[in-house]
């Protein structure tokens, strides 16, 4: 009996201190990164093309972060609706070459012919704040994804954003990814994002 009691226990009390040291080390040397944002492609050096005025939606942001679209001063919260109306207009006559069958817009002859030709032109001043610029970019992205979601719902009974999510998901099988890619390409073809950022001082 007595010999069993004499076996000394290793003192584990300092284990917690060691673990705390490690924990604090990792807390200090690491950071929780925010790695999400709005993806954009910058234009390369291309030749300029003459585009009919009705196919361009000019958006200007001035140094005071005020917004002018198509010659009218508007609030940023109205931008999404205006952009959707412009992209989805489909003003080409029904017998025309570029007639847009799936558009549900007003079909105004003075606005864009079809979504494939509609270009959003974003111009900003050097004094424009980055926050306002991102808000506008975000609203434009929202307009496109609203329209793409609508088409994806019509054609595939699912949201465009969920198609993309499934495509980017690592667990999706390769065969399914090929199918998803086709669908994504098709929807993107219906409403291609054509954003021009011209230089302006």
């Amino acid at each position: 009996m007595s010999s069993r009691e004499e076996v000394p226990k290793v003192n584990a009390g300092s284990m917690a201190d060691i673990a705390f040291l490690l924990l604090i080390f990792f807390l200090v040397t690491t950071s929780i990164e925010t790695d999400a944002g709005i993806n954009r492609m910058l234009p390369g050096d291309g030749e300029s093309v003459v585009i009919p005025q009705r196919n361009i939606l000019p958006i200007l942001i001035n140094g005071n972060d005020e917004l002018m679209v198509d010659g009218e001063v508007i609030e940023i919260k109205d931008l999404k609706e205006l952009t959707i109306a412009f992209l989805d207009n489909g003003g080409e006559v029904p017998e025309g070459r570029n007639y847009c069958e799936y558009c549900q817009g007003a079909r105004d002859v003075l606005s864009s012919d079809n979504p494939e030709e509609a270009i959003v032109s974003l111009m900003n001043n050097r004094e424009t704040s980055y926050g306002a610029y991102i808000t506008v970019q975000n609203e434009l992205a929202a307009a496109y994804s609203t329209l793409r979601n609508r088409e994806a719902q019509r054609l595939f009974k699912t949201d465009f954003t969920s198609l993309e999510e499934r495509y980017l998901n690592e667990e999706t099988s390769a065969a399914e990814k090929i199918k998803l890619k086709e669908k994504i390409k098709m929807i993107q073809g219906l409403y291609p994002m054509k954003l021009s950022e011209a230089e302006r001082n």
């Binding site: 584990a12 009390g13 284990m15 917690a16 060691i18 673990a19 705390f20 490690l22 924990l23 990792f26 807390l27 040397t29 690491t30 950071s31 929780i32 990164e33 925010t34 790695d35 999400a36 944002g37 709005i38 993806n39 954009r40 492609m41 910058l42 234009p43 390369g44 050096d45 942001i61 972060d65 940023i76 919260k77 900003n124 001043n125 050097r126 004094e127 424009t128 704040s129 980055y130 926050g131 306002a132 610029y133 991102i134 808000t135 970019q137 975000n138 609203e139 992205a141 929202a142 994804s145 980017l168 950022e197 230089e199």
Partner: protein
């Protein structure tokens, strides 16, 4: 009765701390998995704007970071309070961005060099002038894929 008396005399049993290391290790592993190592310390203020239409940057090794913002108070006396560009660990002018991108691109392996994204981590109070200069530089070195890094949130919070 003697039994009760004995119990009263005895001291309170100490709370066992044997599970404390386990708890701390659990915390440690949590932080090790959800965080990444800092590659450079920020010398600029970096309150990113909010946006809702965001895409995640999946692969860390395909991203080049550019930070823009006002120098933090400790650097403000030296570098002024105008927004500056931070590349790696030092401040730089817009003209140095092109060289930096080319240098970072050369460091990556061959198969990644064409799929690199430039993540612009810009303070929301910065001006677009500086961003335009950066974008011009990026176009010149053909680094066309950019990501405006933002927080997830309502974009209208950016306008106060």
């Amino acid at each position: 009765m003697s039994k009760f008396a004995k119990k009263k005399d005895g001291e309170l049993p100490a709370v066992s701390t044997a599970s404390l290391p386990d708890i701390v290790f659990m915390l440690l592993f949590f932080f090790m998995t959800v965080t990444v190592m800092k590659d450079s310390s920020l010398k600029v203020e970096n309150t990113l704007p909010n946006a809702s239409e965001i895409k995640k940057l999946e692969k860390k090794d395909r991203v080049i970071y550019i930070y823009v913002g006002k120098p933090t108070p400790e650097f403000a006396s030296k570098f002024g309070s105008e927004p500056k560009i931070q590349l790696n660990d030092k401040f730089a002018g817009p003209s140095e961005v092109g060289d930096y991108i080319l240098m970072e691109r050369a460091k990556k392996s061959q198969d990644l060099q064409n799929v690199l994204t430039t993540a612009l981590k810009v303070d929301k109070n910065a001006n677009m002038g500086l961003i335009s200069d950066i974008k011009q530089e990026l176009r010149e070195v053909n680094a066309l894929k950019v990501n405006y890094t933002t927080y997830d949130g309502d974009a209208f919070n950016n306008l106060q």
